[in-house]
């Protein structure tokens, strides 16, 4: 599906990619990890045909640089930093839909599933939206078409827990017929989303490993937390995850999306002195997409 053959990129005298060789098959979900300057963004830009480079990059045997429109029609991209576009949201969606031969309604429906009503922000400049709203629009544009490859740079970073849950469901719906490349600084941000990890360092692949694929993208975990005493900050943090408290405020219950468990534990670790007991159990509930599959 995606083929990198001895790909190198040099900016002036700085070699950012150094002979990258990778083959990524259909249905693979690859975490592209590495520290700042490792070469993740450069590799993604080579894949999108935006950078010139040595070596060969191809998607289904076709170069994204020389056959841009053909290749990019099948690639959905979510950048880490939303572009500061002044145009209204409706215009951006219309532009993307027209270029990708997609349907504005389909994109709007996806945004709605993520919790953003496009009609309410249609006339607003994209740049004026909140970080989470921008991310939802960009995700909806990337997923709102028949992309065979999804390239996402920290896609869930700005999403609230509920939107992340839906986002994982959306990915689950596409996981069998789409190849995903998810870039992140840290593996724990994306570990549960992927079945393969590629780590870059100084422009080289230093790790290429399969990971256990047991976590369902759309699975849910029942979670129960008992705390020693009521705490306003903890209350606020768990409320953001849609958890419910017992009348005395000492016991909290709620659901956590399977791929979000590490992030959730990261959040709770801030209150470790407060927590008396924490348990997860896999629930029978799955997303409608999983049921359909």
């Amino acid at each position: 599906m995606i083929h990198f053959n001895n790909v190198s990129k040099t900016f002036k005298r700085n070699r950012v990619l150094d002979g990258i060789g990778l083959d990524i098959g259909l249905g693979e979900r690859v975490a592209l990890i590495g520290s700042n300057g490792a070469g993740k963004t450069t590799l993604i830009r080579c894949l999108l045909g935006e950078y010139t480079h040595d070596g060969e990059v191809a998607i289904e045997g076709v170069s994204p640089r020389t056959h841009r429109t053909q290749v990019l029609a099948a690639v959905g991209f979510v950048p880490q930093l939303p572009p500061p576009l002044k145009m209204p949201v409706g215009q951006l969606i219309g532009f993307a839909a027209a270029l990708c031969h997609s349907d504005e309604q389909r994109i709007a429906a996806l945004a709605l599933r993520l919790g953003l009503d496009v009609e309410r922000v249609r006339q607003q400049p994209f740049v004026k939206l909140s970080g989470g709203q921008k991310q939802k629009i960009l995700i909806a544009i990337a997923l709102g078409r028949d992309a065979k490859v999804l390239v996402m740079d920290e896609p869930a970073a700005n999403l609230d827990p509920e939107a992340r849950k839906i986002f994982f469901e959306l990915l689950a719906e596409r996981q069998h017929d789409t190849t995903m490349l998810i870039s992140s600084h840290r593996l724990n941000e994306v570990a549960a989303l992927v079945n393969r990890v590629v780590e870059l360092d100084m422009g080289k692949v230093v790790l290429d490993d399969r990971v256990a694929d047991d976590v369902s993208l759309s699975g849910l975990l029942d979670c129960r937390i008992r705390i020693k005493r009521a705490d306003a900050a903890f209350d606020k943090a768990l409320s953001a995850w849609d958890f419910r408290a017992s009348p005395d405020g000492l016991e909290w219950t709620g659901e956590v999306a399977g791929p979000d468990r590490l992030r959730f534990l990261g959040m709770t670790s801030r209150y470790v002195a407060l927590i008396a007991d924490l348990s997860f159990s896999e629930t029978e509930k799955v997303s409608p997409a999983e049921t359909a599959a």
């Binding site: 999108l48 935006e50 429109t69 990019l72 500061p84 990708c100």
Partner: protein, 275 residues
Amino acid sequence: MKELWLTAKLDIVESLRARWFAIYCLVFGGLVALLFLFGLTESRVLGFIGLSRLLVTFIQLTMAILPIFVLITTVRSVAGDREAGVFEYLLSLPVGLAAWFWGKIVGRYLVIFLPVFAAMAGAVLWALVRGIEVPWGMFAYYTALLAAMGWCFLGIGMLISALARSTDVAQGMAFMVWLTLLLFLDLILLGVMIQEHVRPEVAVGIALANPLQVFRTAALALFDPQLIVLGPSAFVILDNFGATGYQFFAVLYPIAVGALCAGAGYLFFRRGDLP
């Protein structure tokens, strides 16, 4: 073609919401308003009165303002968009590079030309309402000159944007280009060169190659057909081109310069890193 128009439309919408566009409209709209306000249509200079007097003044002022305005705003917004990640995202969508680049030029061209034209057209409209005689030939030629001037400096701006990797460098280059063209006007360095007895062919060659000087001479030619104010160099121009020939040259040459620069810009853009 659809991609080109989509990109053009996108650029127009982005520009309409940008601060530079508001200032741009204010400058040219305000200019015409001020000229009316100060009663320019009632004054007489070199036999020019009424709307022709206003148009002559407007084109002279526009020649001073428009090139630097077009250069700076074009390179700022294009290089700025690249730096801010706008290119990274929009060029990840399936749009051809030719459609993107030329679509941006088309959109930008409409945005820079229409306000200047609208200001001039507004003046004509007002003259019609007030019963002032409208010099239609002059209006048409000045419109062509403005169209050529806008295109010329937009092409240069797009070339600079394709070459420069950062907003600061792009702005610096744009300013240097403008300054160089300005210095080689007959009023400044070119005049000094002639005083220093540089060969007339060199001086006239530089004058004819400098789009700013070409516009200046063409604008002068309308109210001074013998180009007396230019001195002996007028003979070279009139002998080689004739008055009408020079009018055509003054429109076609800048269009060619703009097209060449835009074409070169496209080649650099296509060959290099996009974001």
